[in-house]
């Protein structure tokens, strides 16, 4: 009976949400009906489908007003303050500066010798859809049954009990992450942006108000996966051919649904995959495009122009450094590794200076992990890339390099107004590091998400343990 109670509440909650949505839709349909009684010159708008049928139920956990003093601050937008102060309360950043006005009784943390930064944002993660343990039963990242699976949504695969979320938080200082479908398919499906806060449901982790992304992929993976099955695409030209055919259909779908939603009439057939592509063409869903080679990225940029969409970010983009100028001109970001290379043909030309060269070219650059281990050390990955850039003669400050970890991924995800830097009014997603986070010897000491202290190295009670690890060997250990 006790077991059933929470489940019942969830069901009720979901039902209430469904009713509310239905109610909205009914209202929307009802009003035109009333108008229809009036002179028939005005068309009757059709009934729109829900853009948010699995809404976020994330709620920030409570925090206490907190002031950190005497701390070195990277604000995430390129600014640095030595021996500065930061105040946050009610889940939001209140003020950051050399000194700030803090109310009496605020919890004060002496940050002498420590560093304060925005929480790290990983734009490319498969936590939850390729969780630990990586057994076949948990392998939910690639719907590799057809090259166009824009109908799948990563959030329907995310297992919120993945132990990897806890490592990303405690060791990596990651507070926001985008979970993507894999790259087997040209159109891999919809991504989801999560707050790195454990919840019973994926809805409970969803970043409120974050736009959706569409995962696309260039290159070797789609042509290998489908070529080996004797079907299109089996070549890079096949990749683009299927892409174009799909976008052409999407444009048609959009035209029909736009017309219906405006003018009414017979509703067009619903196509869940096309909903997503229509969202891209409408600018509501951001394209997150796996692509390694420079020449292929250039083709994708033209394809985006051909069909009227924008590529938010190329992921992996190991050859982005060859076309930094082109990326800048197109307003397209590159999310890259620091030094992964050579594991496949299209990664053969990767160099450690990719990030600094992009920065140097004025393009939008960021680090990403694509890996449950790498996500625990993104600050270190940036440190390596930064050092490589400096050895090559590029003058980039530590504070500027921090943009690769927070504000740039926030922009690429469409959430830069909410998180990604230590600016007043933004979410208090914050990491206190025990030393310079660009040193290999540093670790997160405290991590706050929306002002709630969710990791504290000094407090074993502030260390999350997923359901899967509970009662297992090493459960609750310092990992």
């Amino acid at each position: 009976m006790q077991m059933k109670m929470p489940g019942g509440q969830i069901a009720l909650g979901a039902l209430a949400a469904a009713l509310a949505l239905a109610g909205c839709a009914t209202d929307g349909a009802a009003r035109p009906k009333a108008e229809a009684a009036a002179p028939a010159s005005k068309p009757t708008p059709g009934k729109a489908y829900s853009r948010d049928p699995y809404p976020s139920t994330y709620k920030p956990y409570p925090g206490v007003p907190t002031l950190v003093t005497n701390v070195t601050i990277y604000d995430g937008e390129g600014g640095k303050i030595e021996r500065g102060q930061a105040l946050f309360a009610d889940g939001k950043i209140v003020a950051v500066g050399q000194t700030v006005n803090a109310p009496a009784g605020v919890t004060t943390i002496d940050g002498t010798g420590k560093y304060l930064t925005p929480g790290i944002i990983d734009i490319h993660s498969h936590l939850g859809d390729y969780p630990s343990p990586g057994v076949q039963a948990n392998s939910d990242g690639n719907e590799a049954t057809g090259p166009v699976t824009a109908d799948v949504w990563a959030e329907h695969s995310v297992w919120p009990q993945d132990p990897g979320f806890s490592r990303a938080l405690a060791n990596g200082g990651v507070t926001t992450l985008q979970i993507l479908p894999g790259s087997a398919n040209l159109f891999g499906g919809r991504s989801v942006v999560l707050k790195n806060v454990y919840a019973r449901t994926v809805q409970g982790m969803k970043f409120p108000g974050a736009p959706y992304g569409l995962k696309m992929a260039c290159g070797e993976n789609p042509k290998r996966v489908y070529g080996s099955k004797g079907r299109q695409p089996s070549t890079r030209m096949g990749n683009i051919a299927v892409d174009r055919a799909t976008w052409a259909r999407a444009a048609d779908y959009k035209r029909r649904w736009d017309k219906y939603e405006k003018d009414g009439g017979d509703p067009p057939a619903r196509d869940i995959a096309m909903d997503t592509l229509r969202g891209v063409l409408a600018g509501e869903i951001l394209v997150q495009n796996h692509c390694y080679r420079a020449d292929e990225m250039a083709i994708v940029l033209d394809m985006a122009k051909e069909f009227g969409y924008h590529v938010s970010t190329f992921h992996h983009a190991v050859e982005a450094y060859k076309i930094g100028d082109l990326l800048k001109a197109n307003g397209t970001c590159a999310a890259v590794w620091a030094d992964w290379w050579g594991f496949k043909m299209e990664s053969y030309d990767a160099i450690s200076e990719n990030l600094p060269l992009l920065e140097n070219a004025g393009a939008c650059a960021m680090i990403h992990s694509d890996d449950a281990n790498g996500i625990q050390r993104l600050n270190q990955e940036v440190a390596k890339a930064l050092a490589a850039g400096r050895r090559a003669g590029m003058q980039i400050s530590d504070a500027q390099a921090w943009t690769w970890l927070t504000i740039n991924p926030a922009k690429a995800l469409g959430i830069a107004d909410k998180t990604g830097s230590l600016k007043a009014g933004k979410m208090a997603d914050i990491v206190l590091w025990n030393n310079d986070p660009f040193s290999v010897y540093s670790r997160p000491e405290k991590v706050w998400v929306d002002g709630a202290l969710l990791y504290d190295a000094n407090d074993p009670k502030r260390r999350p343990v997923s359901d899967f690890e509970l009662g297992q060997p090493g459960s609750g250990d310092v990992k």
Binding site: L357, A372, K384, A457, G474, K479
Partner: protein, 432 residues
Amino acid sequence: MKRLLLLTAAFLASPVAAQSVAITNARLVIGDGSAPIDGGTVVVRDGKIVAAGKAVAVPAGIETVDAGGRYVTPGIVAGFTRMGIIEVDGVDETNDAGANNSPFHAGIDIAPAVNPRTSSIALNRAEGITRAVVAPTTRGSIFAGQGAIIDLGADSNTVSTPRAFQFMEYGESGASAAGGSRPAALTAFRDALKSAQAFARAPGAYLDQGRDVLVNRVDAAALGAVVTGRVPLLIHVERASDMRALIALKQDFPALRMVFVGASEGWMVASELAAAKVPVIASALNDLPEAFESLAATQSNVGRMKAAGVVVGLGTINDNEARQARLEKQYAGNLVALRHVPGATGLSWDQAFAAISSVPAEAVGLSGEIGSLRPGRRGDVVIWDGDPLELSSAAIGVYVDGVKQPLGTRQSELLKRYRQPQEGALPKAYER
């Protein structure tokens, strides 16, 4: 033309014409776990270390390099790699780590396949790695074959110790290779060792056993070196209980020199590992239950094993091991960082450096040969522009067998070409 000839001569001569050099004014790291020595000198003569320490005289007439107070260390010994036998992992034609359809397993010798021109050798050389343990991959048997120790010098004489060890898989991978279970893997293991003994006793009569012989002569001959302890047996194993099962085998095969690779749950059996004198080449930062055999994985694994007296160095099994040995420096640094995490167990800086130099050498029985700057070891020396475990540091001088090494790579050529992405007077293809 003359320059070309000289270059060719140098290449031809380099395997034998090992060099002599003295590096002075160093923050000298011996690599054996001792603390750095400021104002130290290391002397390499004819390719071997002859002296290293504070009050070391520089012999007359020897080339001398002033390190300017910088770190000078033994070259990094990569504890478990597949370097030199794979160019691009995903391009089968360039991947000699394993053979899907070969009748041979333990007998496979990877040494002749090592290609000195593999681009990961140059890349890792430029990052201060001078030696690597190179293992084949298992295919269709628990045994992968005979691995080698290579040096990363820019010459054609890359394999420094062929057939240095045998590699096998146990645990989940071994079970799979043996037909589907751990008991099947252990049965195959015991049978193979007994076959090796039988073959050694009477090679000519070996096949007279008829259908009972499951191990072919080539494999049985190679396993003879294992069962008699002439070479160590590196075993990939992660789960605590699997390590116990392997240690128990020493009762029947006392000469076996087992070395555990991976060992994510090693901390749970640390005292048993220490008592059995089984060295470990660990994956430093595994902290996820990425398989059921590594549920208790924690970054404190290495520190806890070390504290219990286990000989534990670092390797990179199943971690980009064809190409990314350079990451071991970062991994070692992370183990030092753990000392400031409450409840975690890390390593001291000195221990961490040893874990990527002398300890892996010791684990494969070559500590008298490589891995430290103690007299008699090979002259593998690196000068760094900073703390070698720190992310911002780079190797600025690399010596292998006393020979100063070039530090250029394919990657440095690409950087040069694309330092400015736009084309100049001619296409990029003309810039080099």
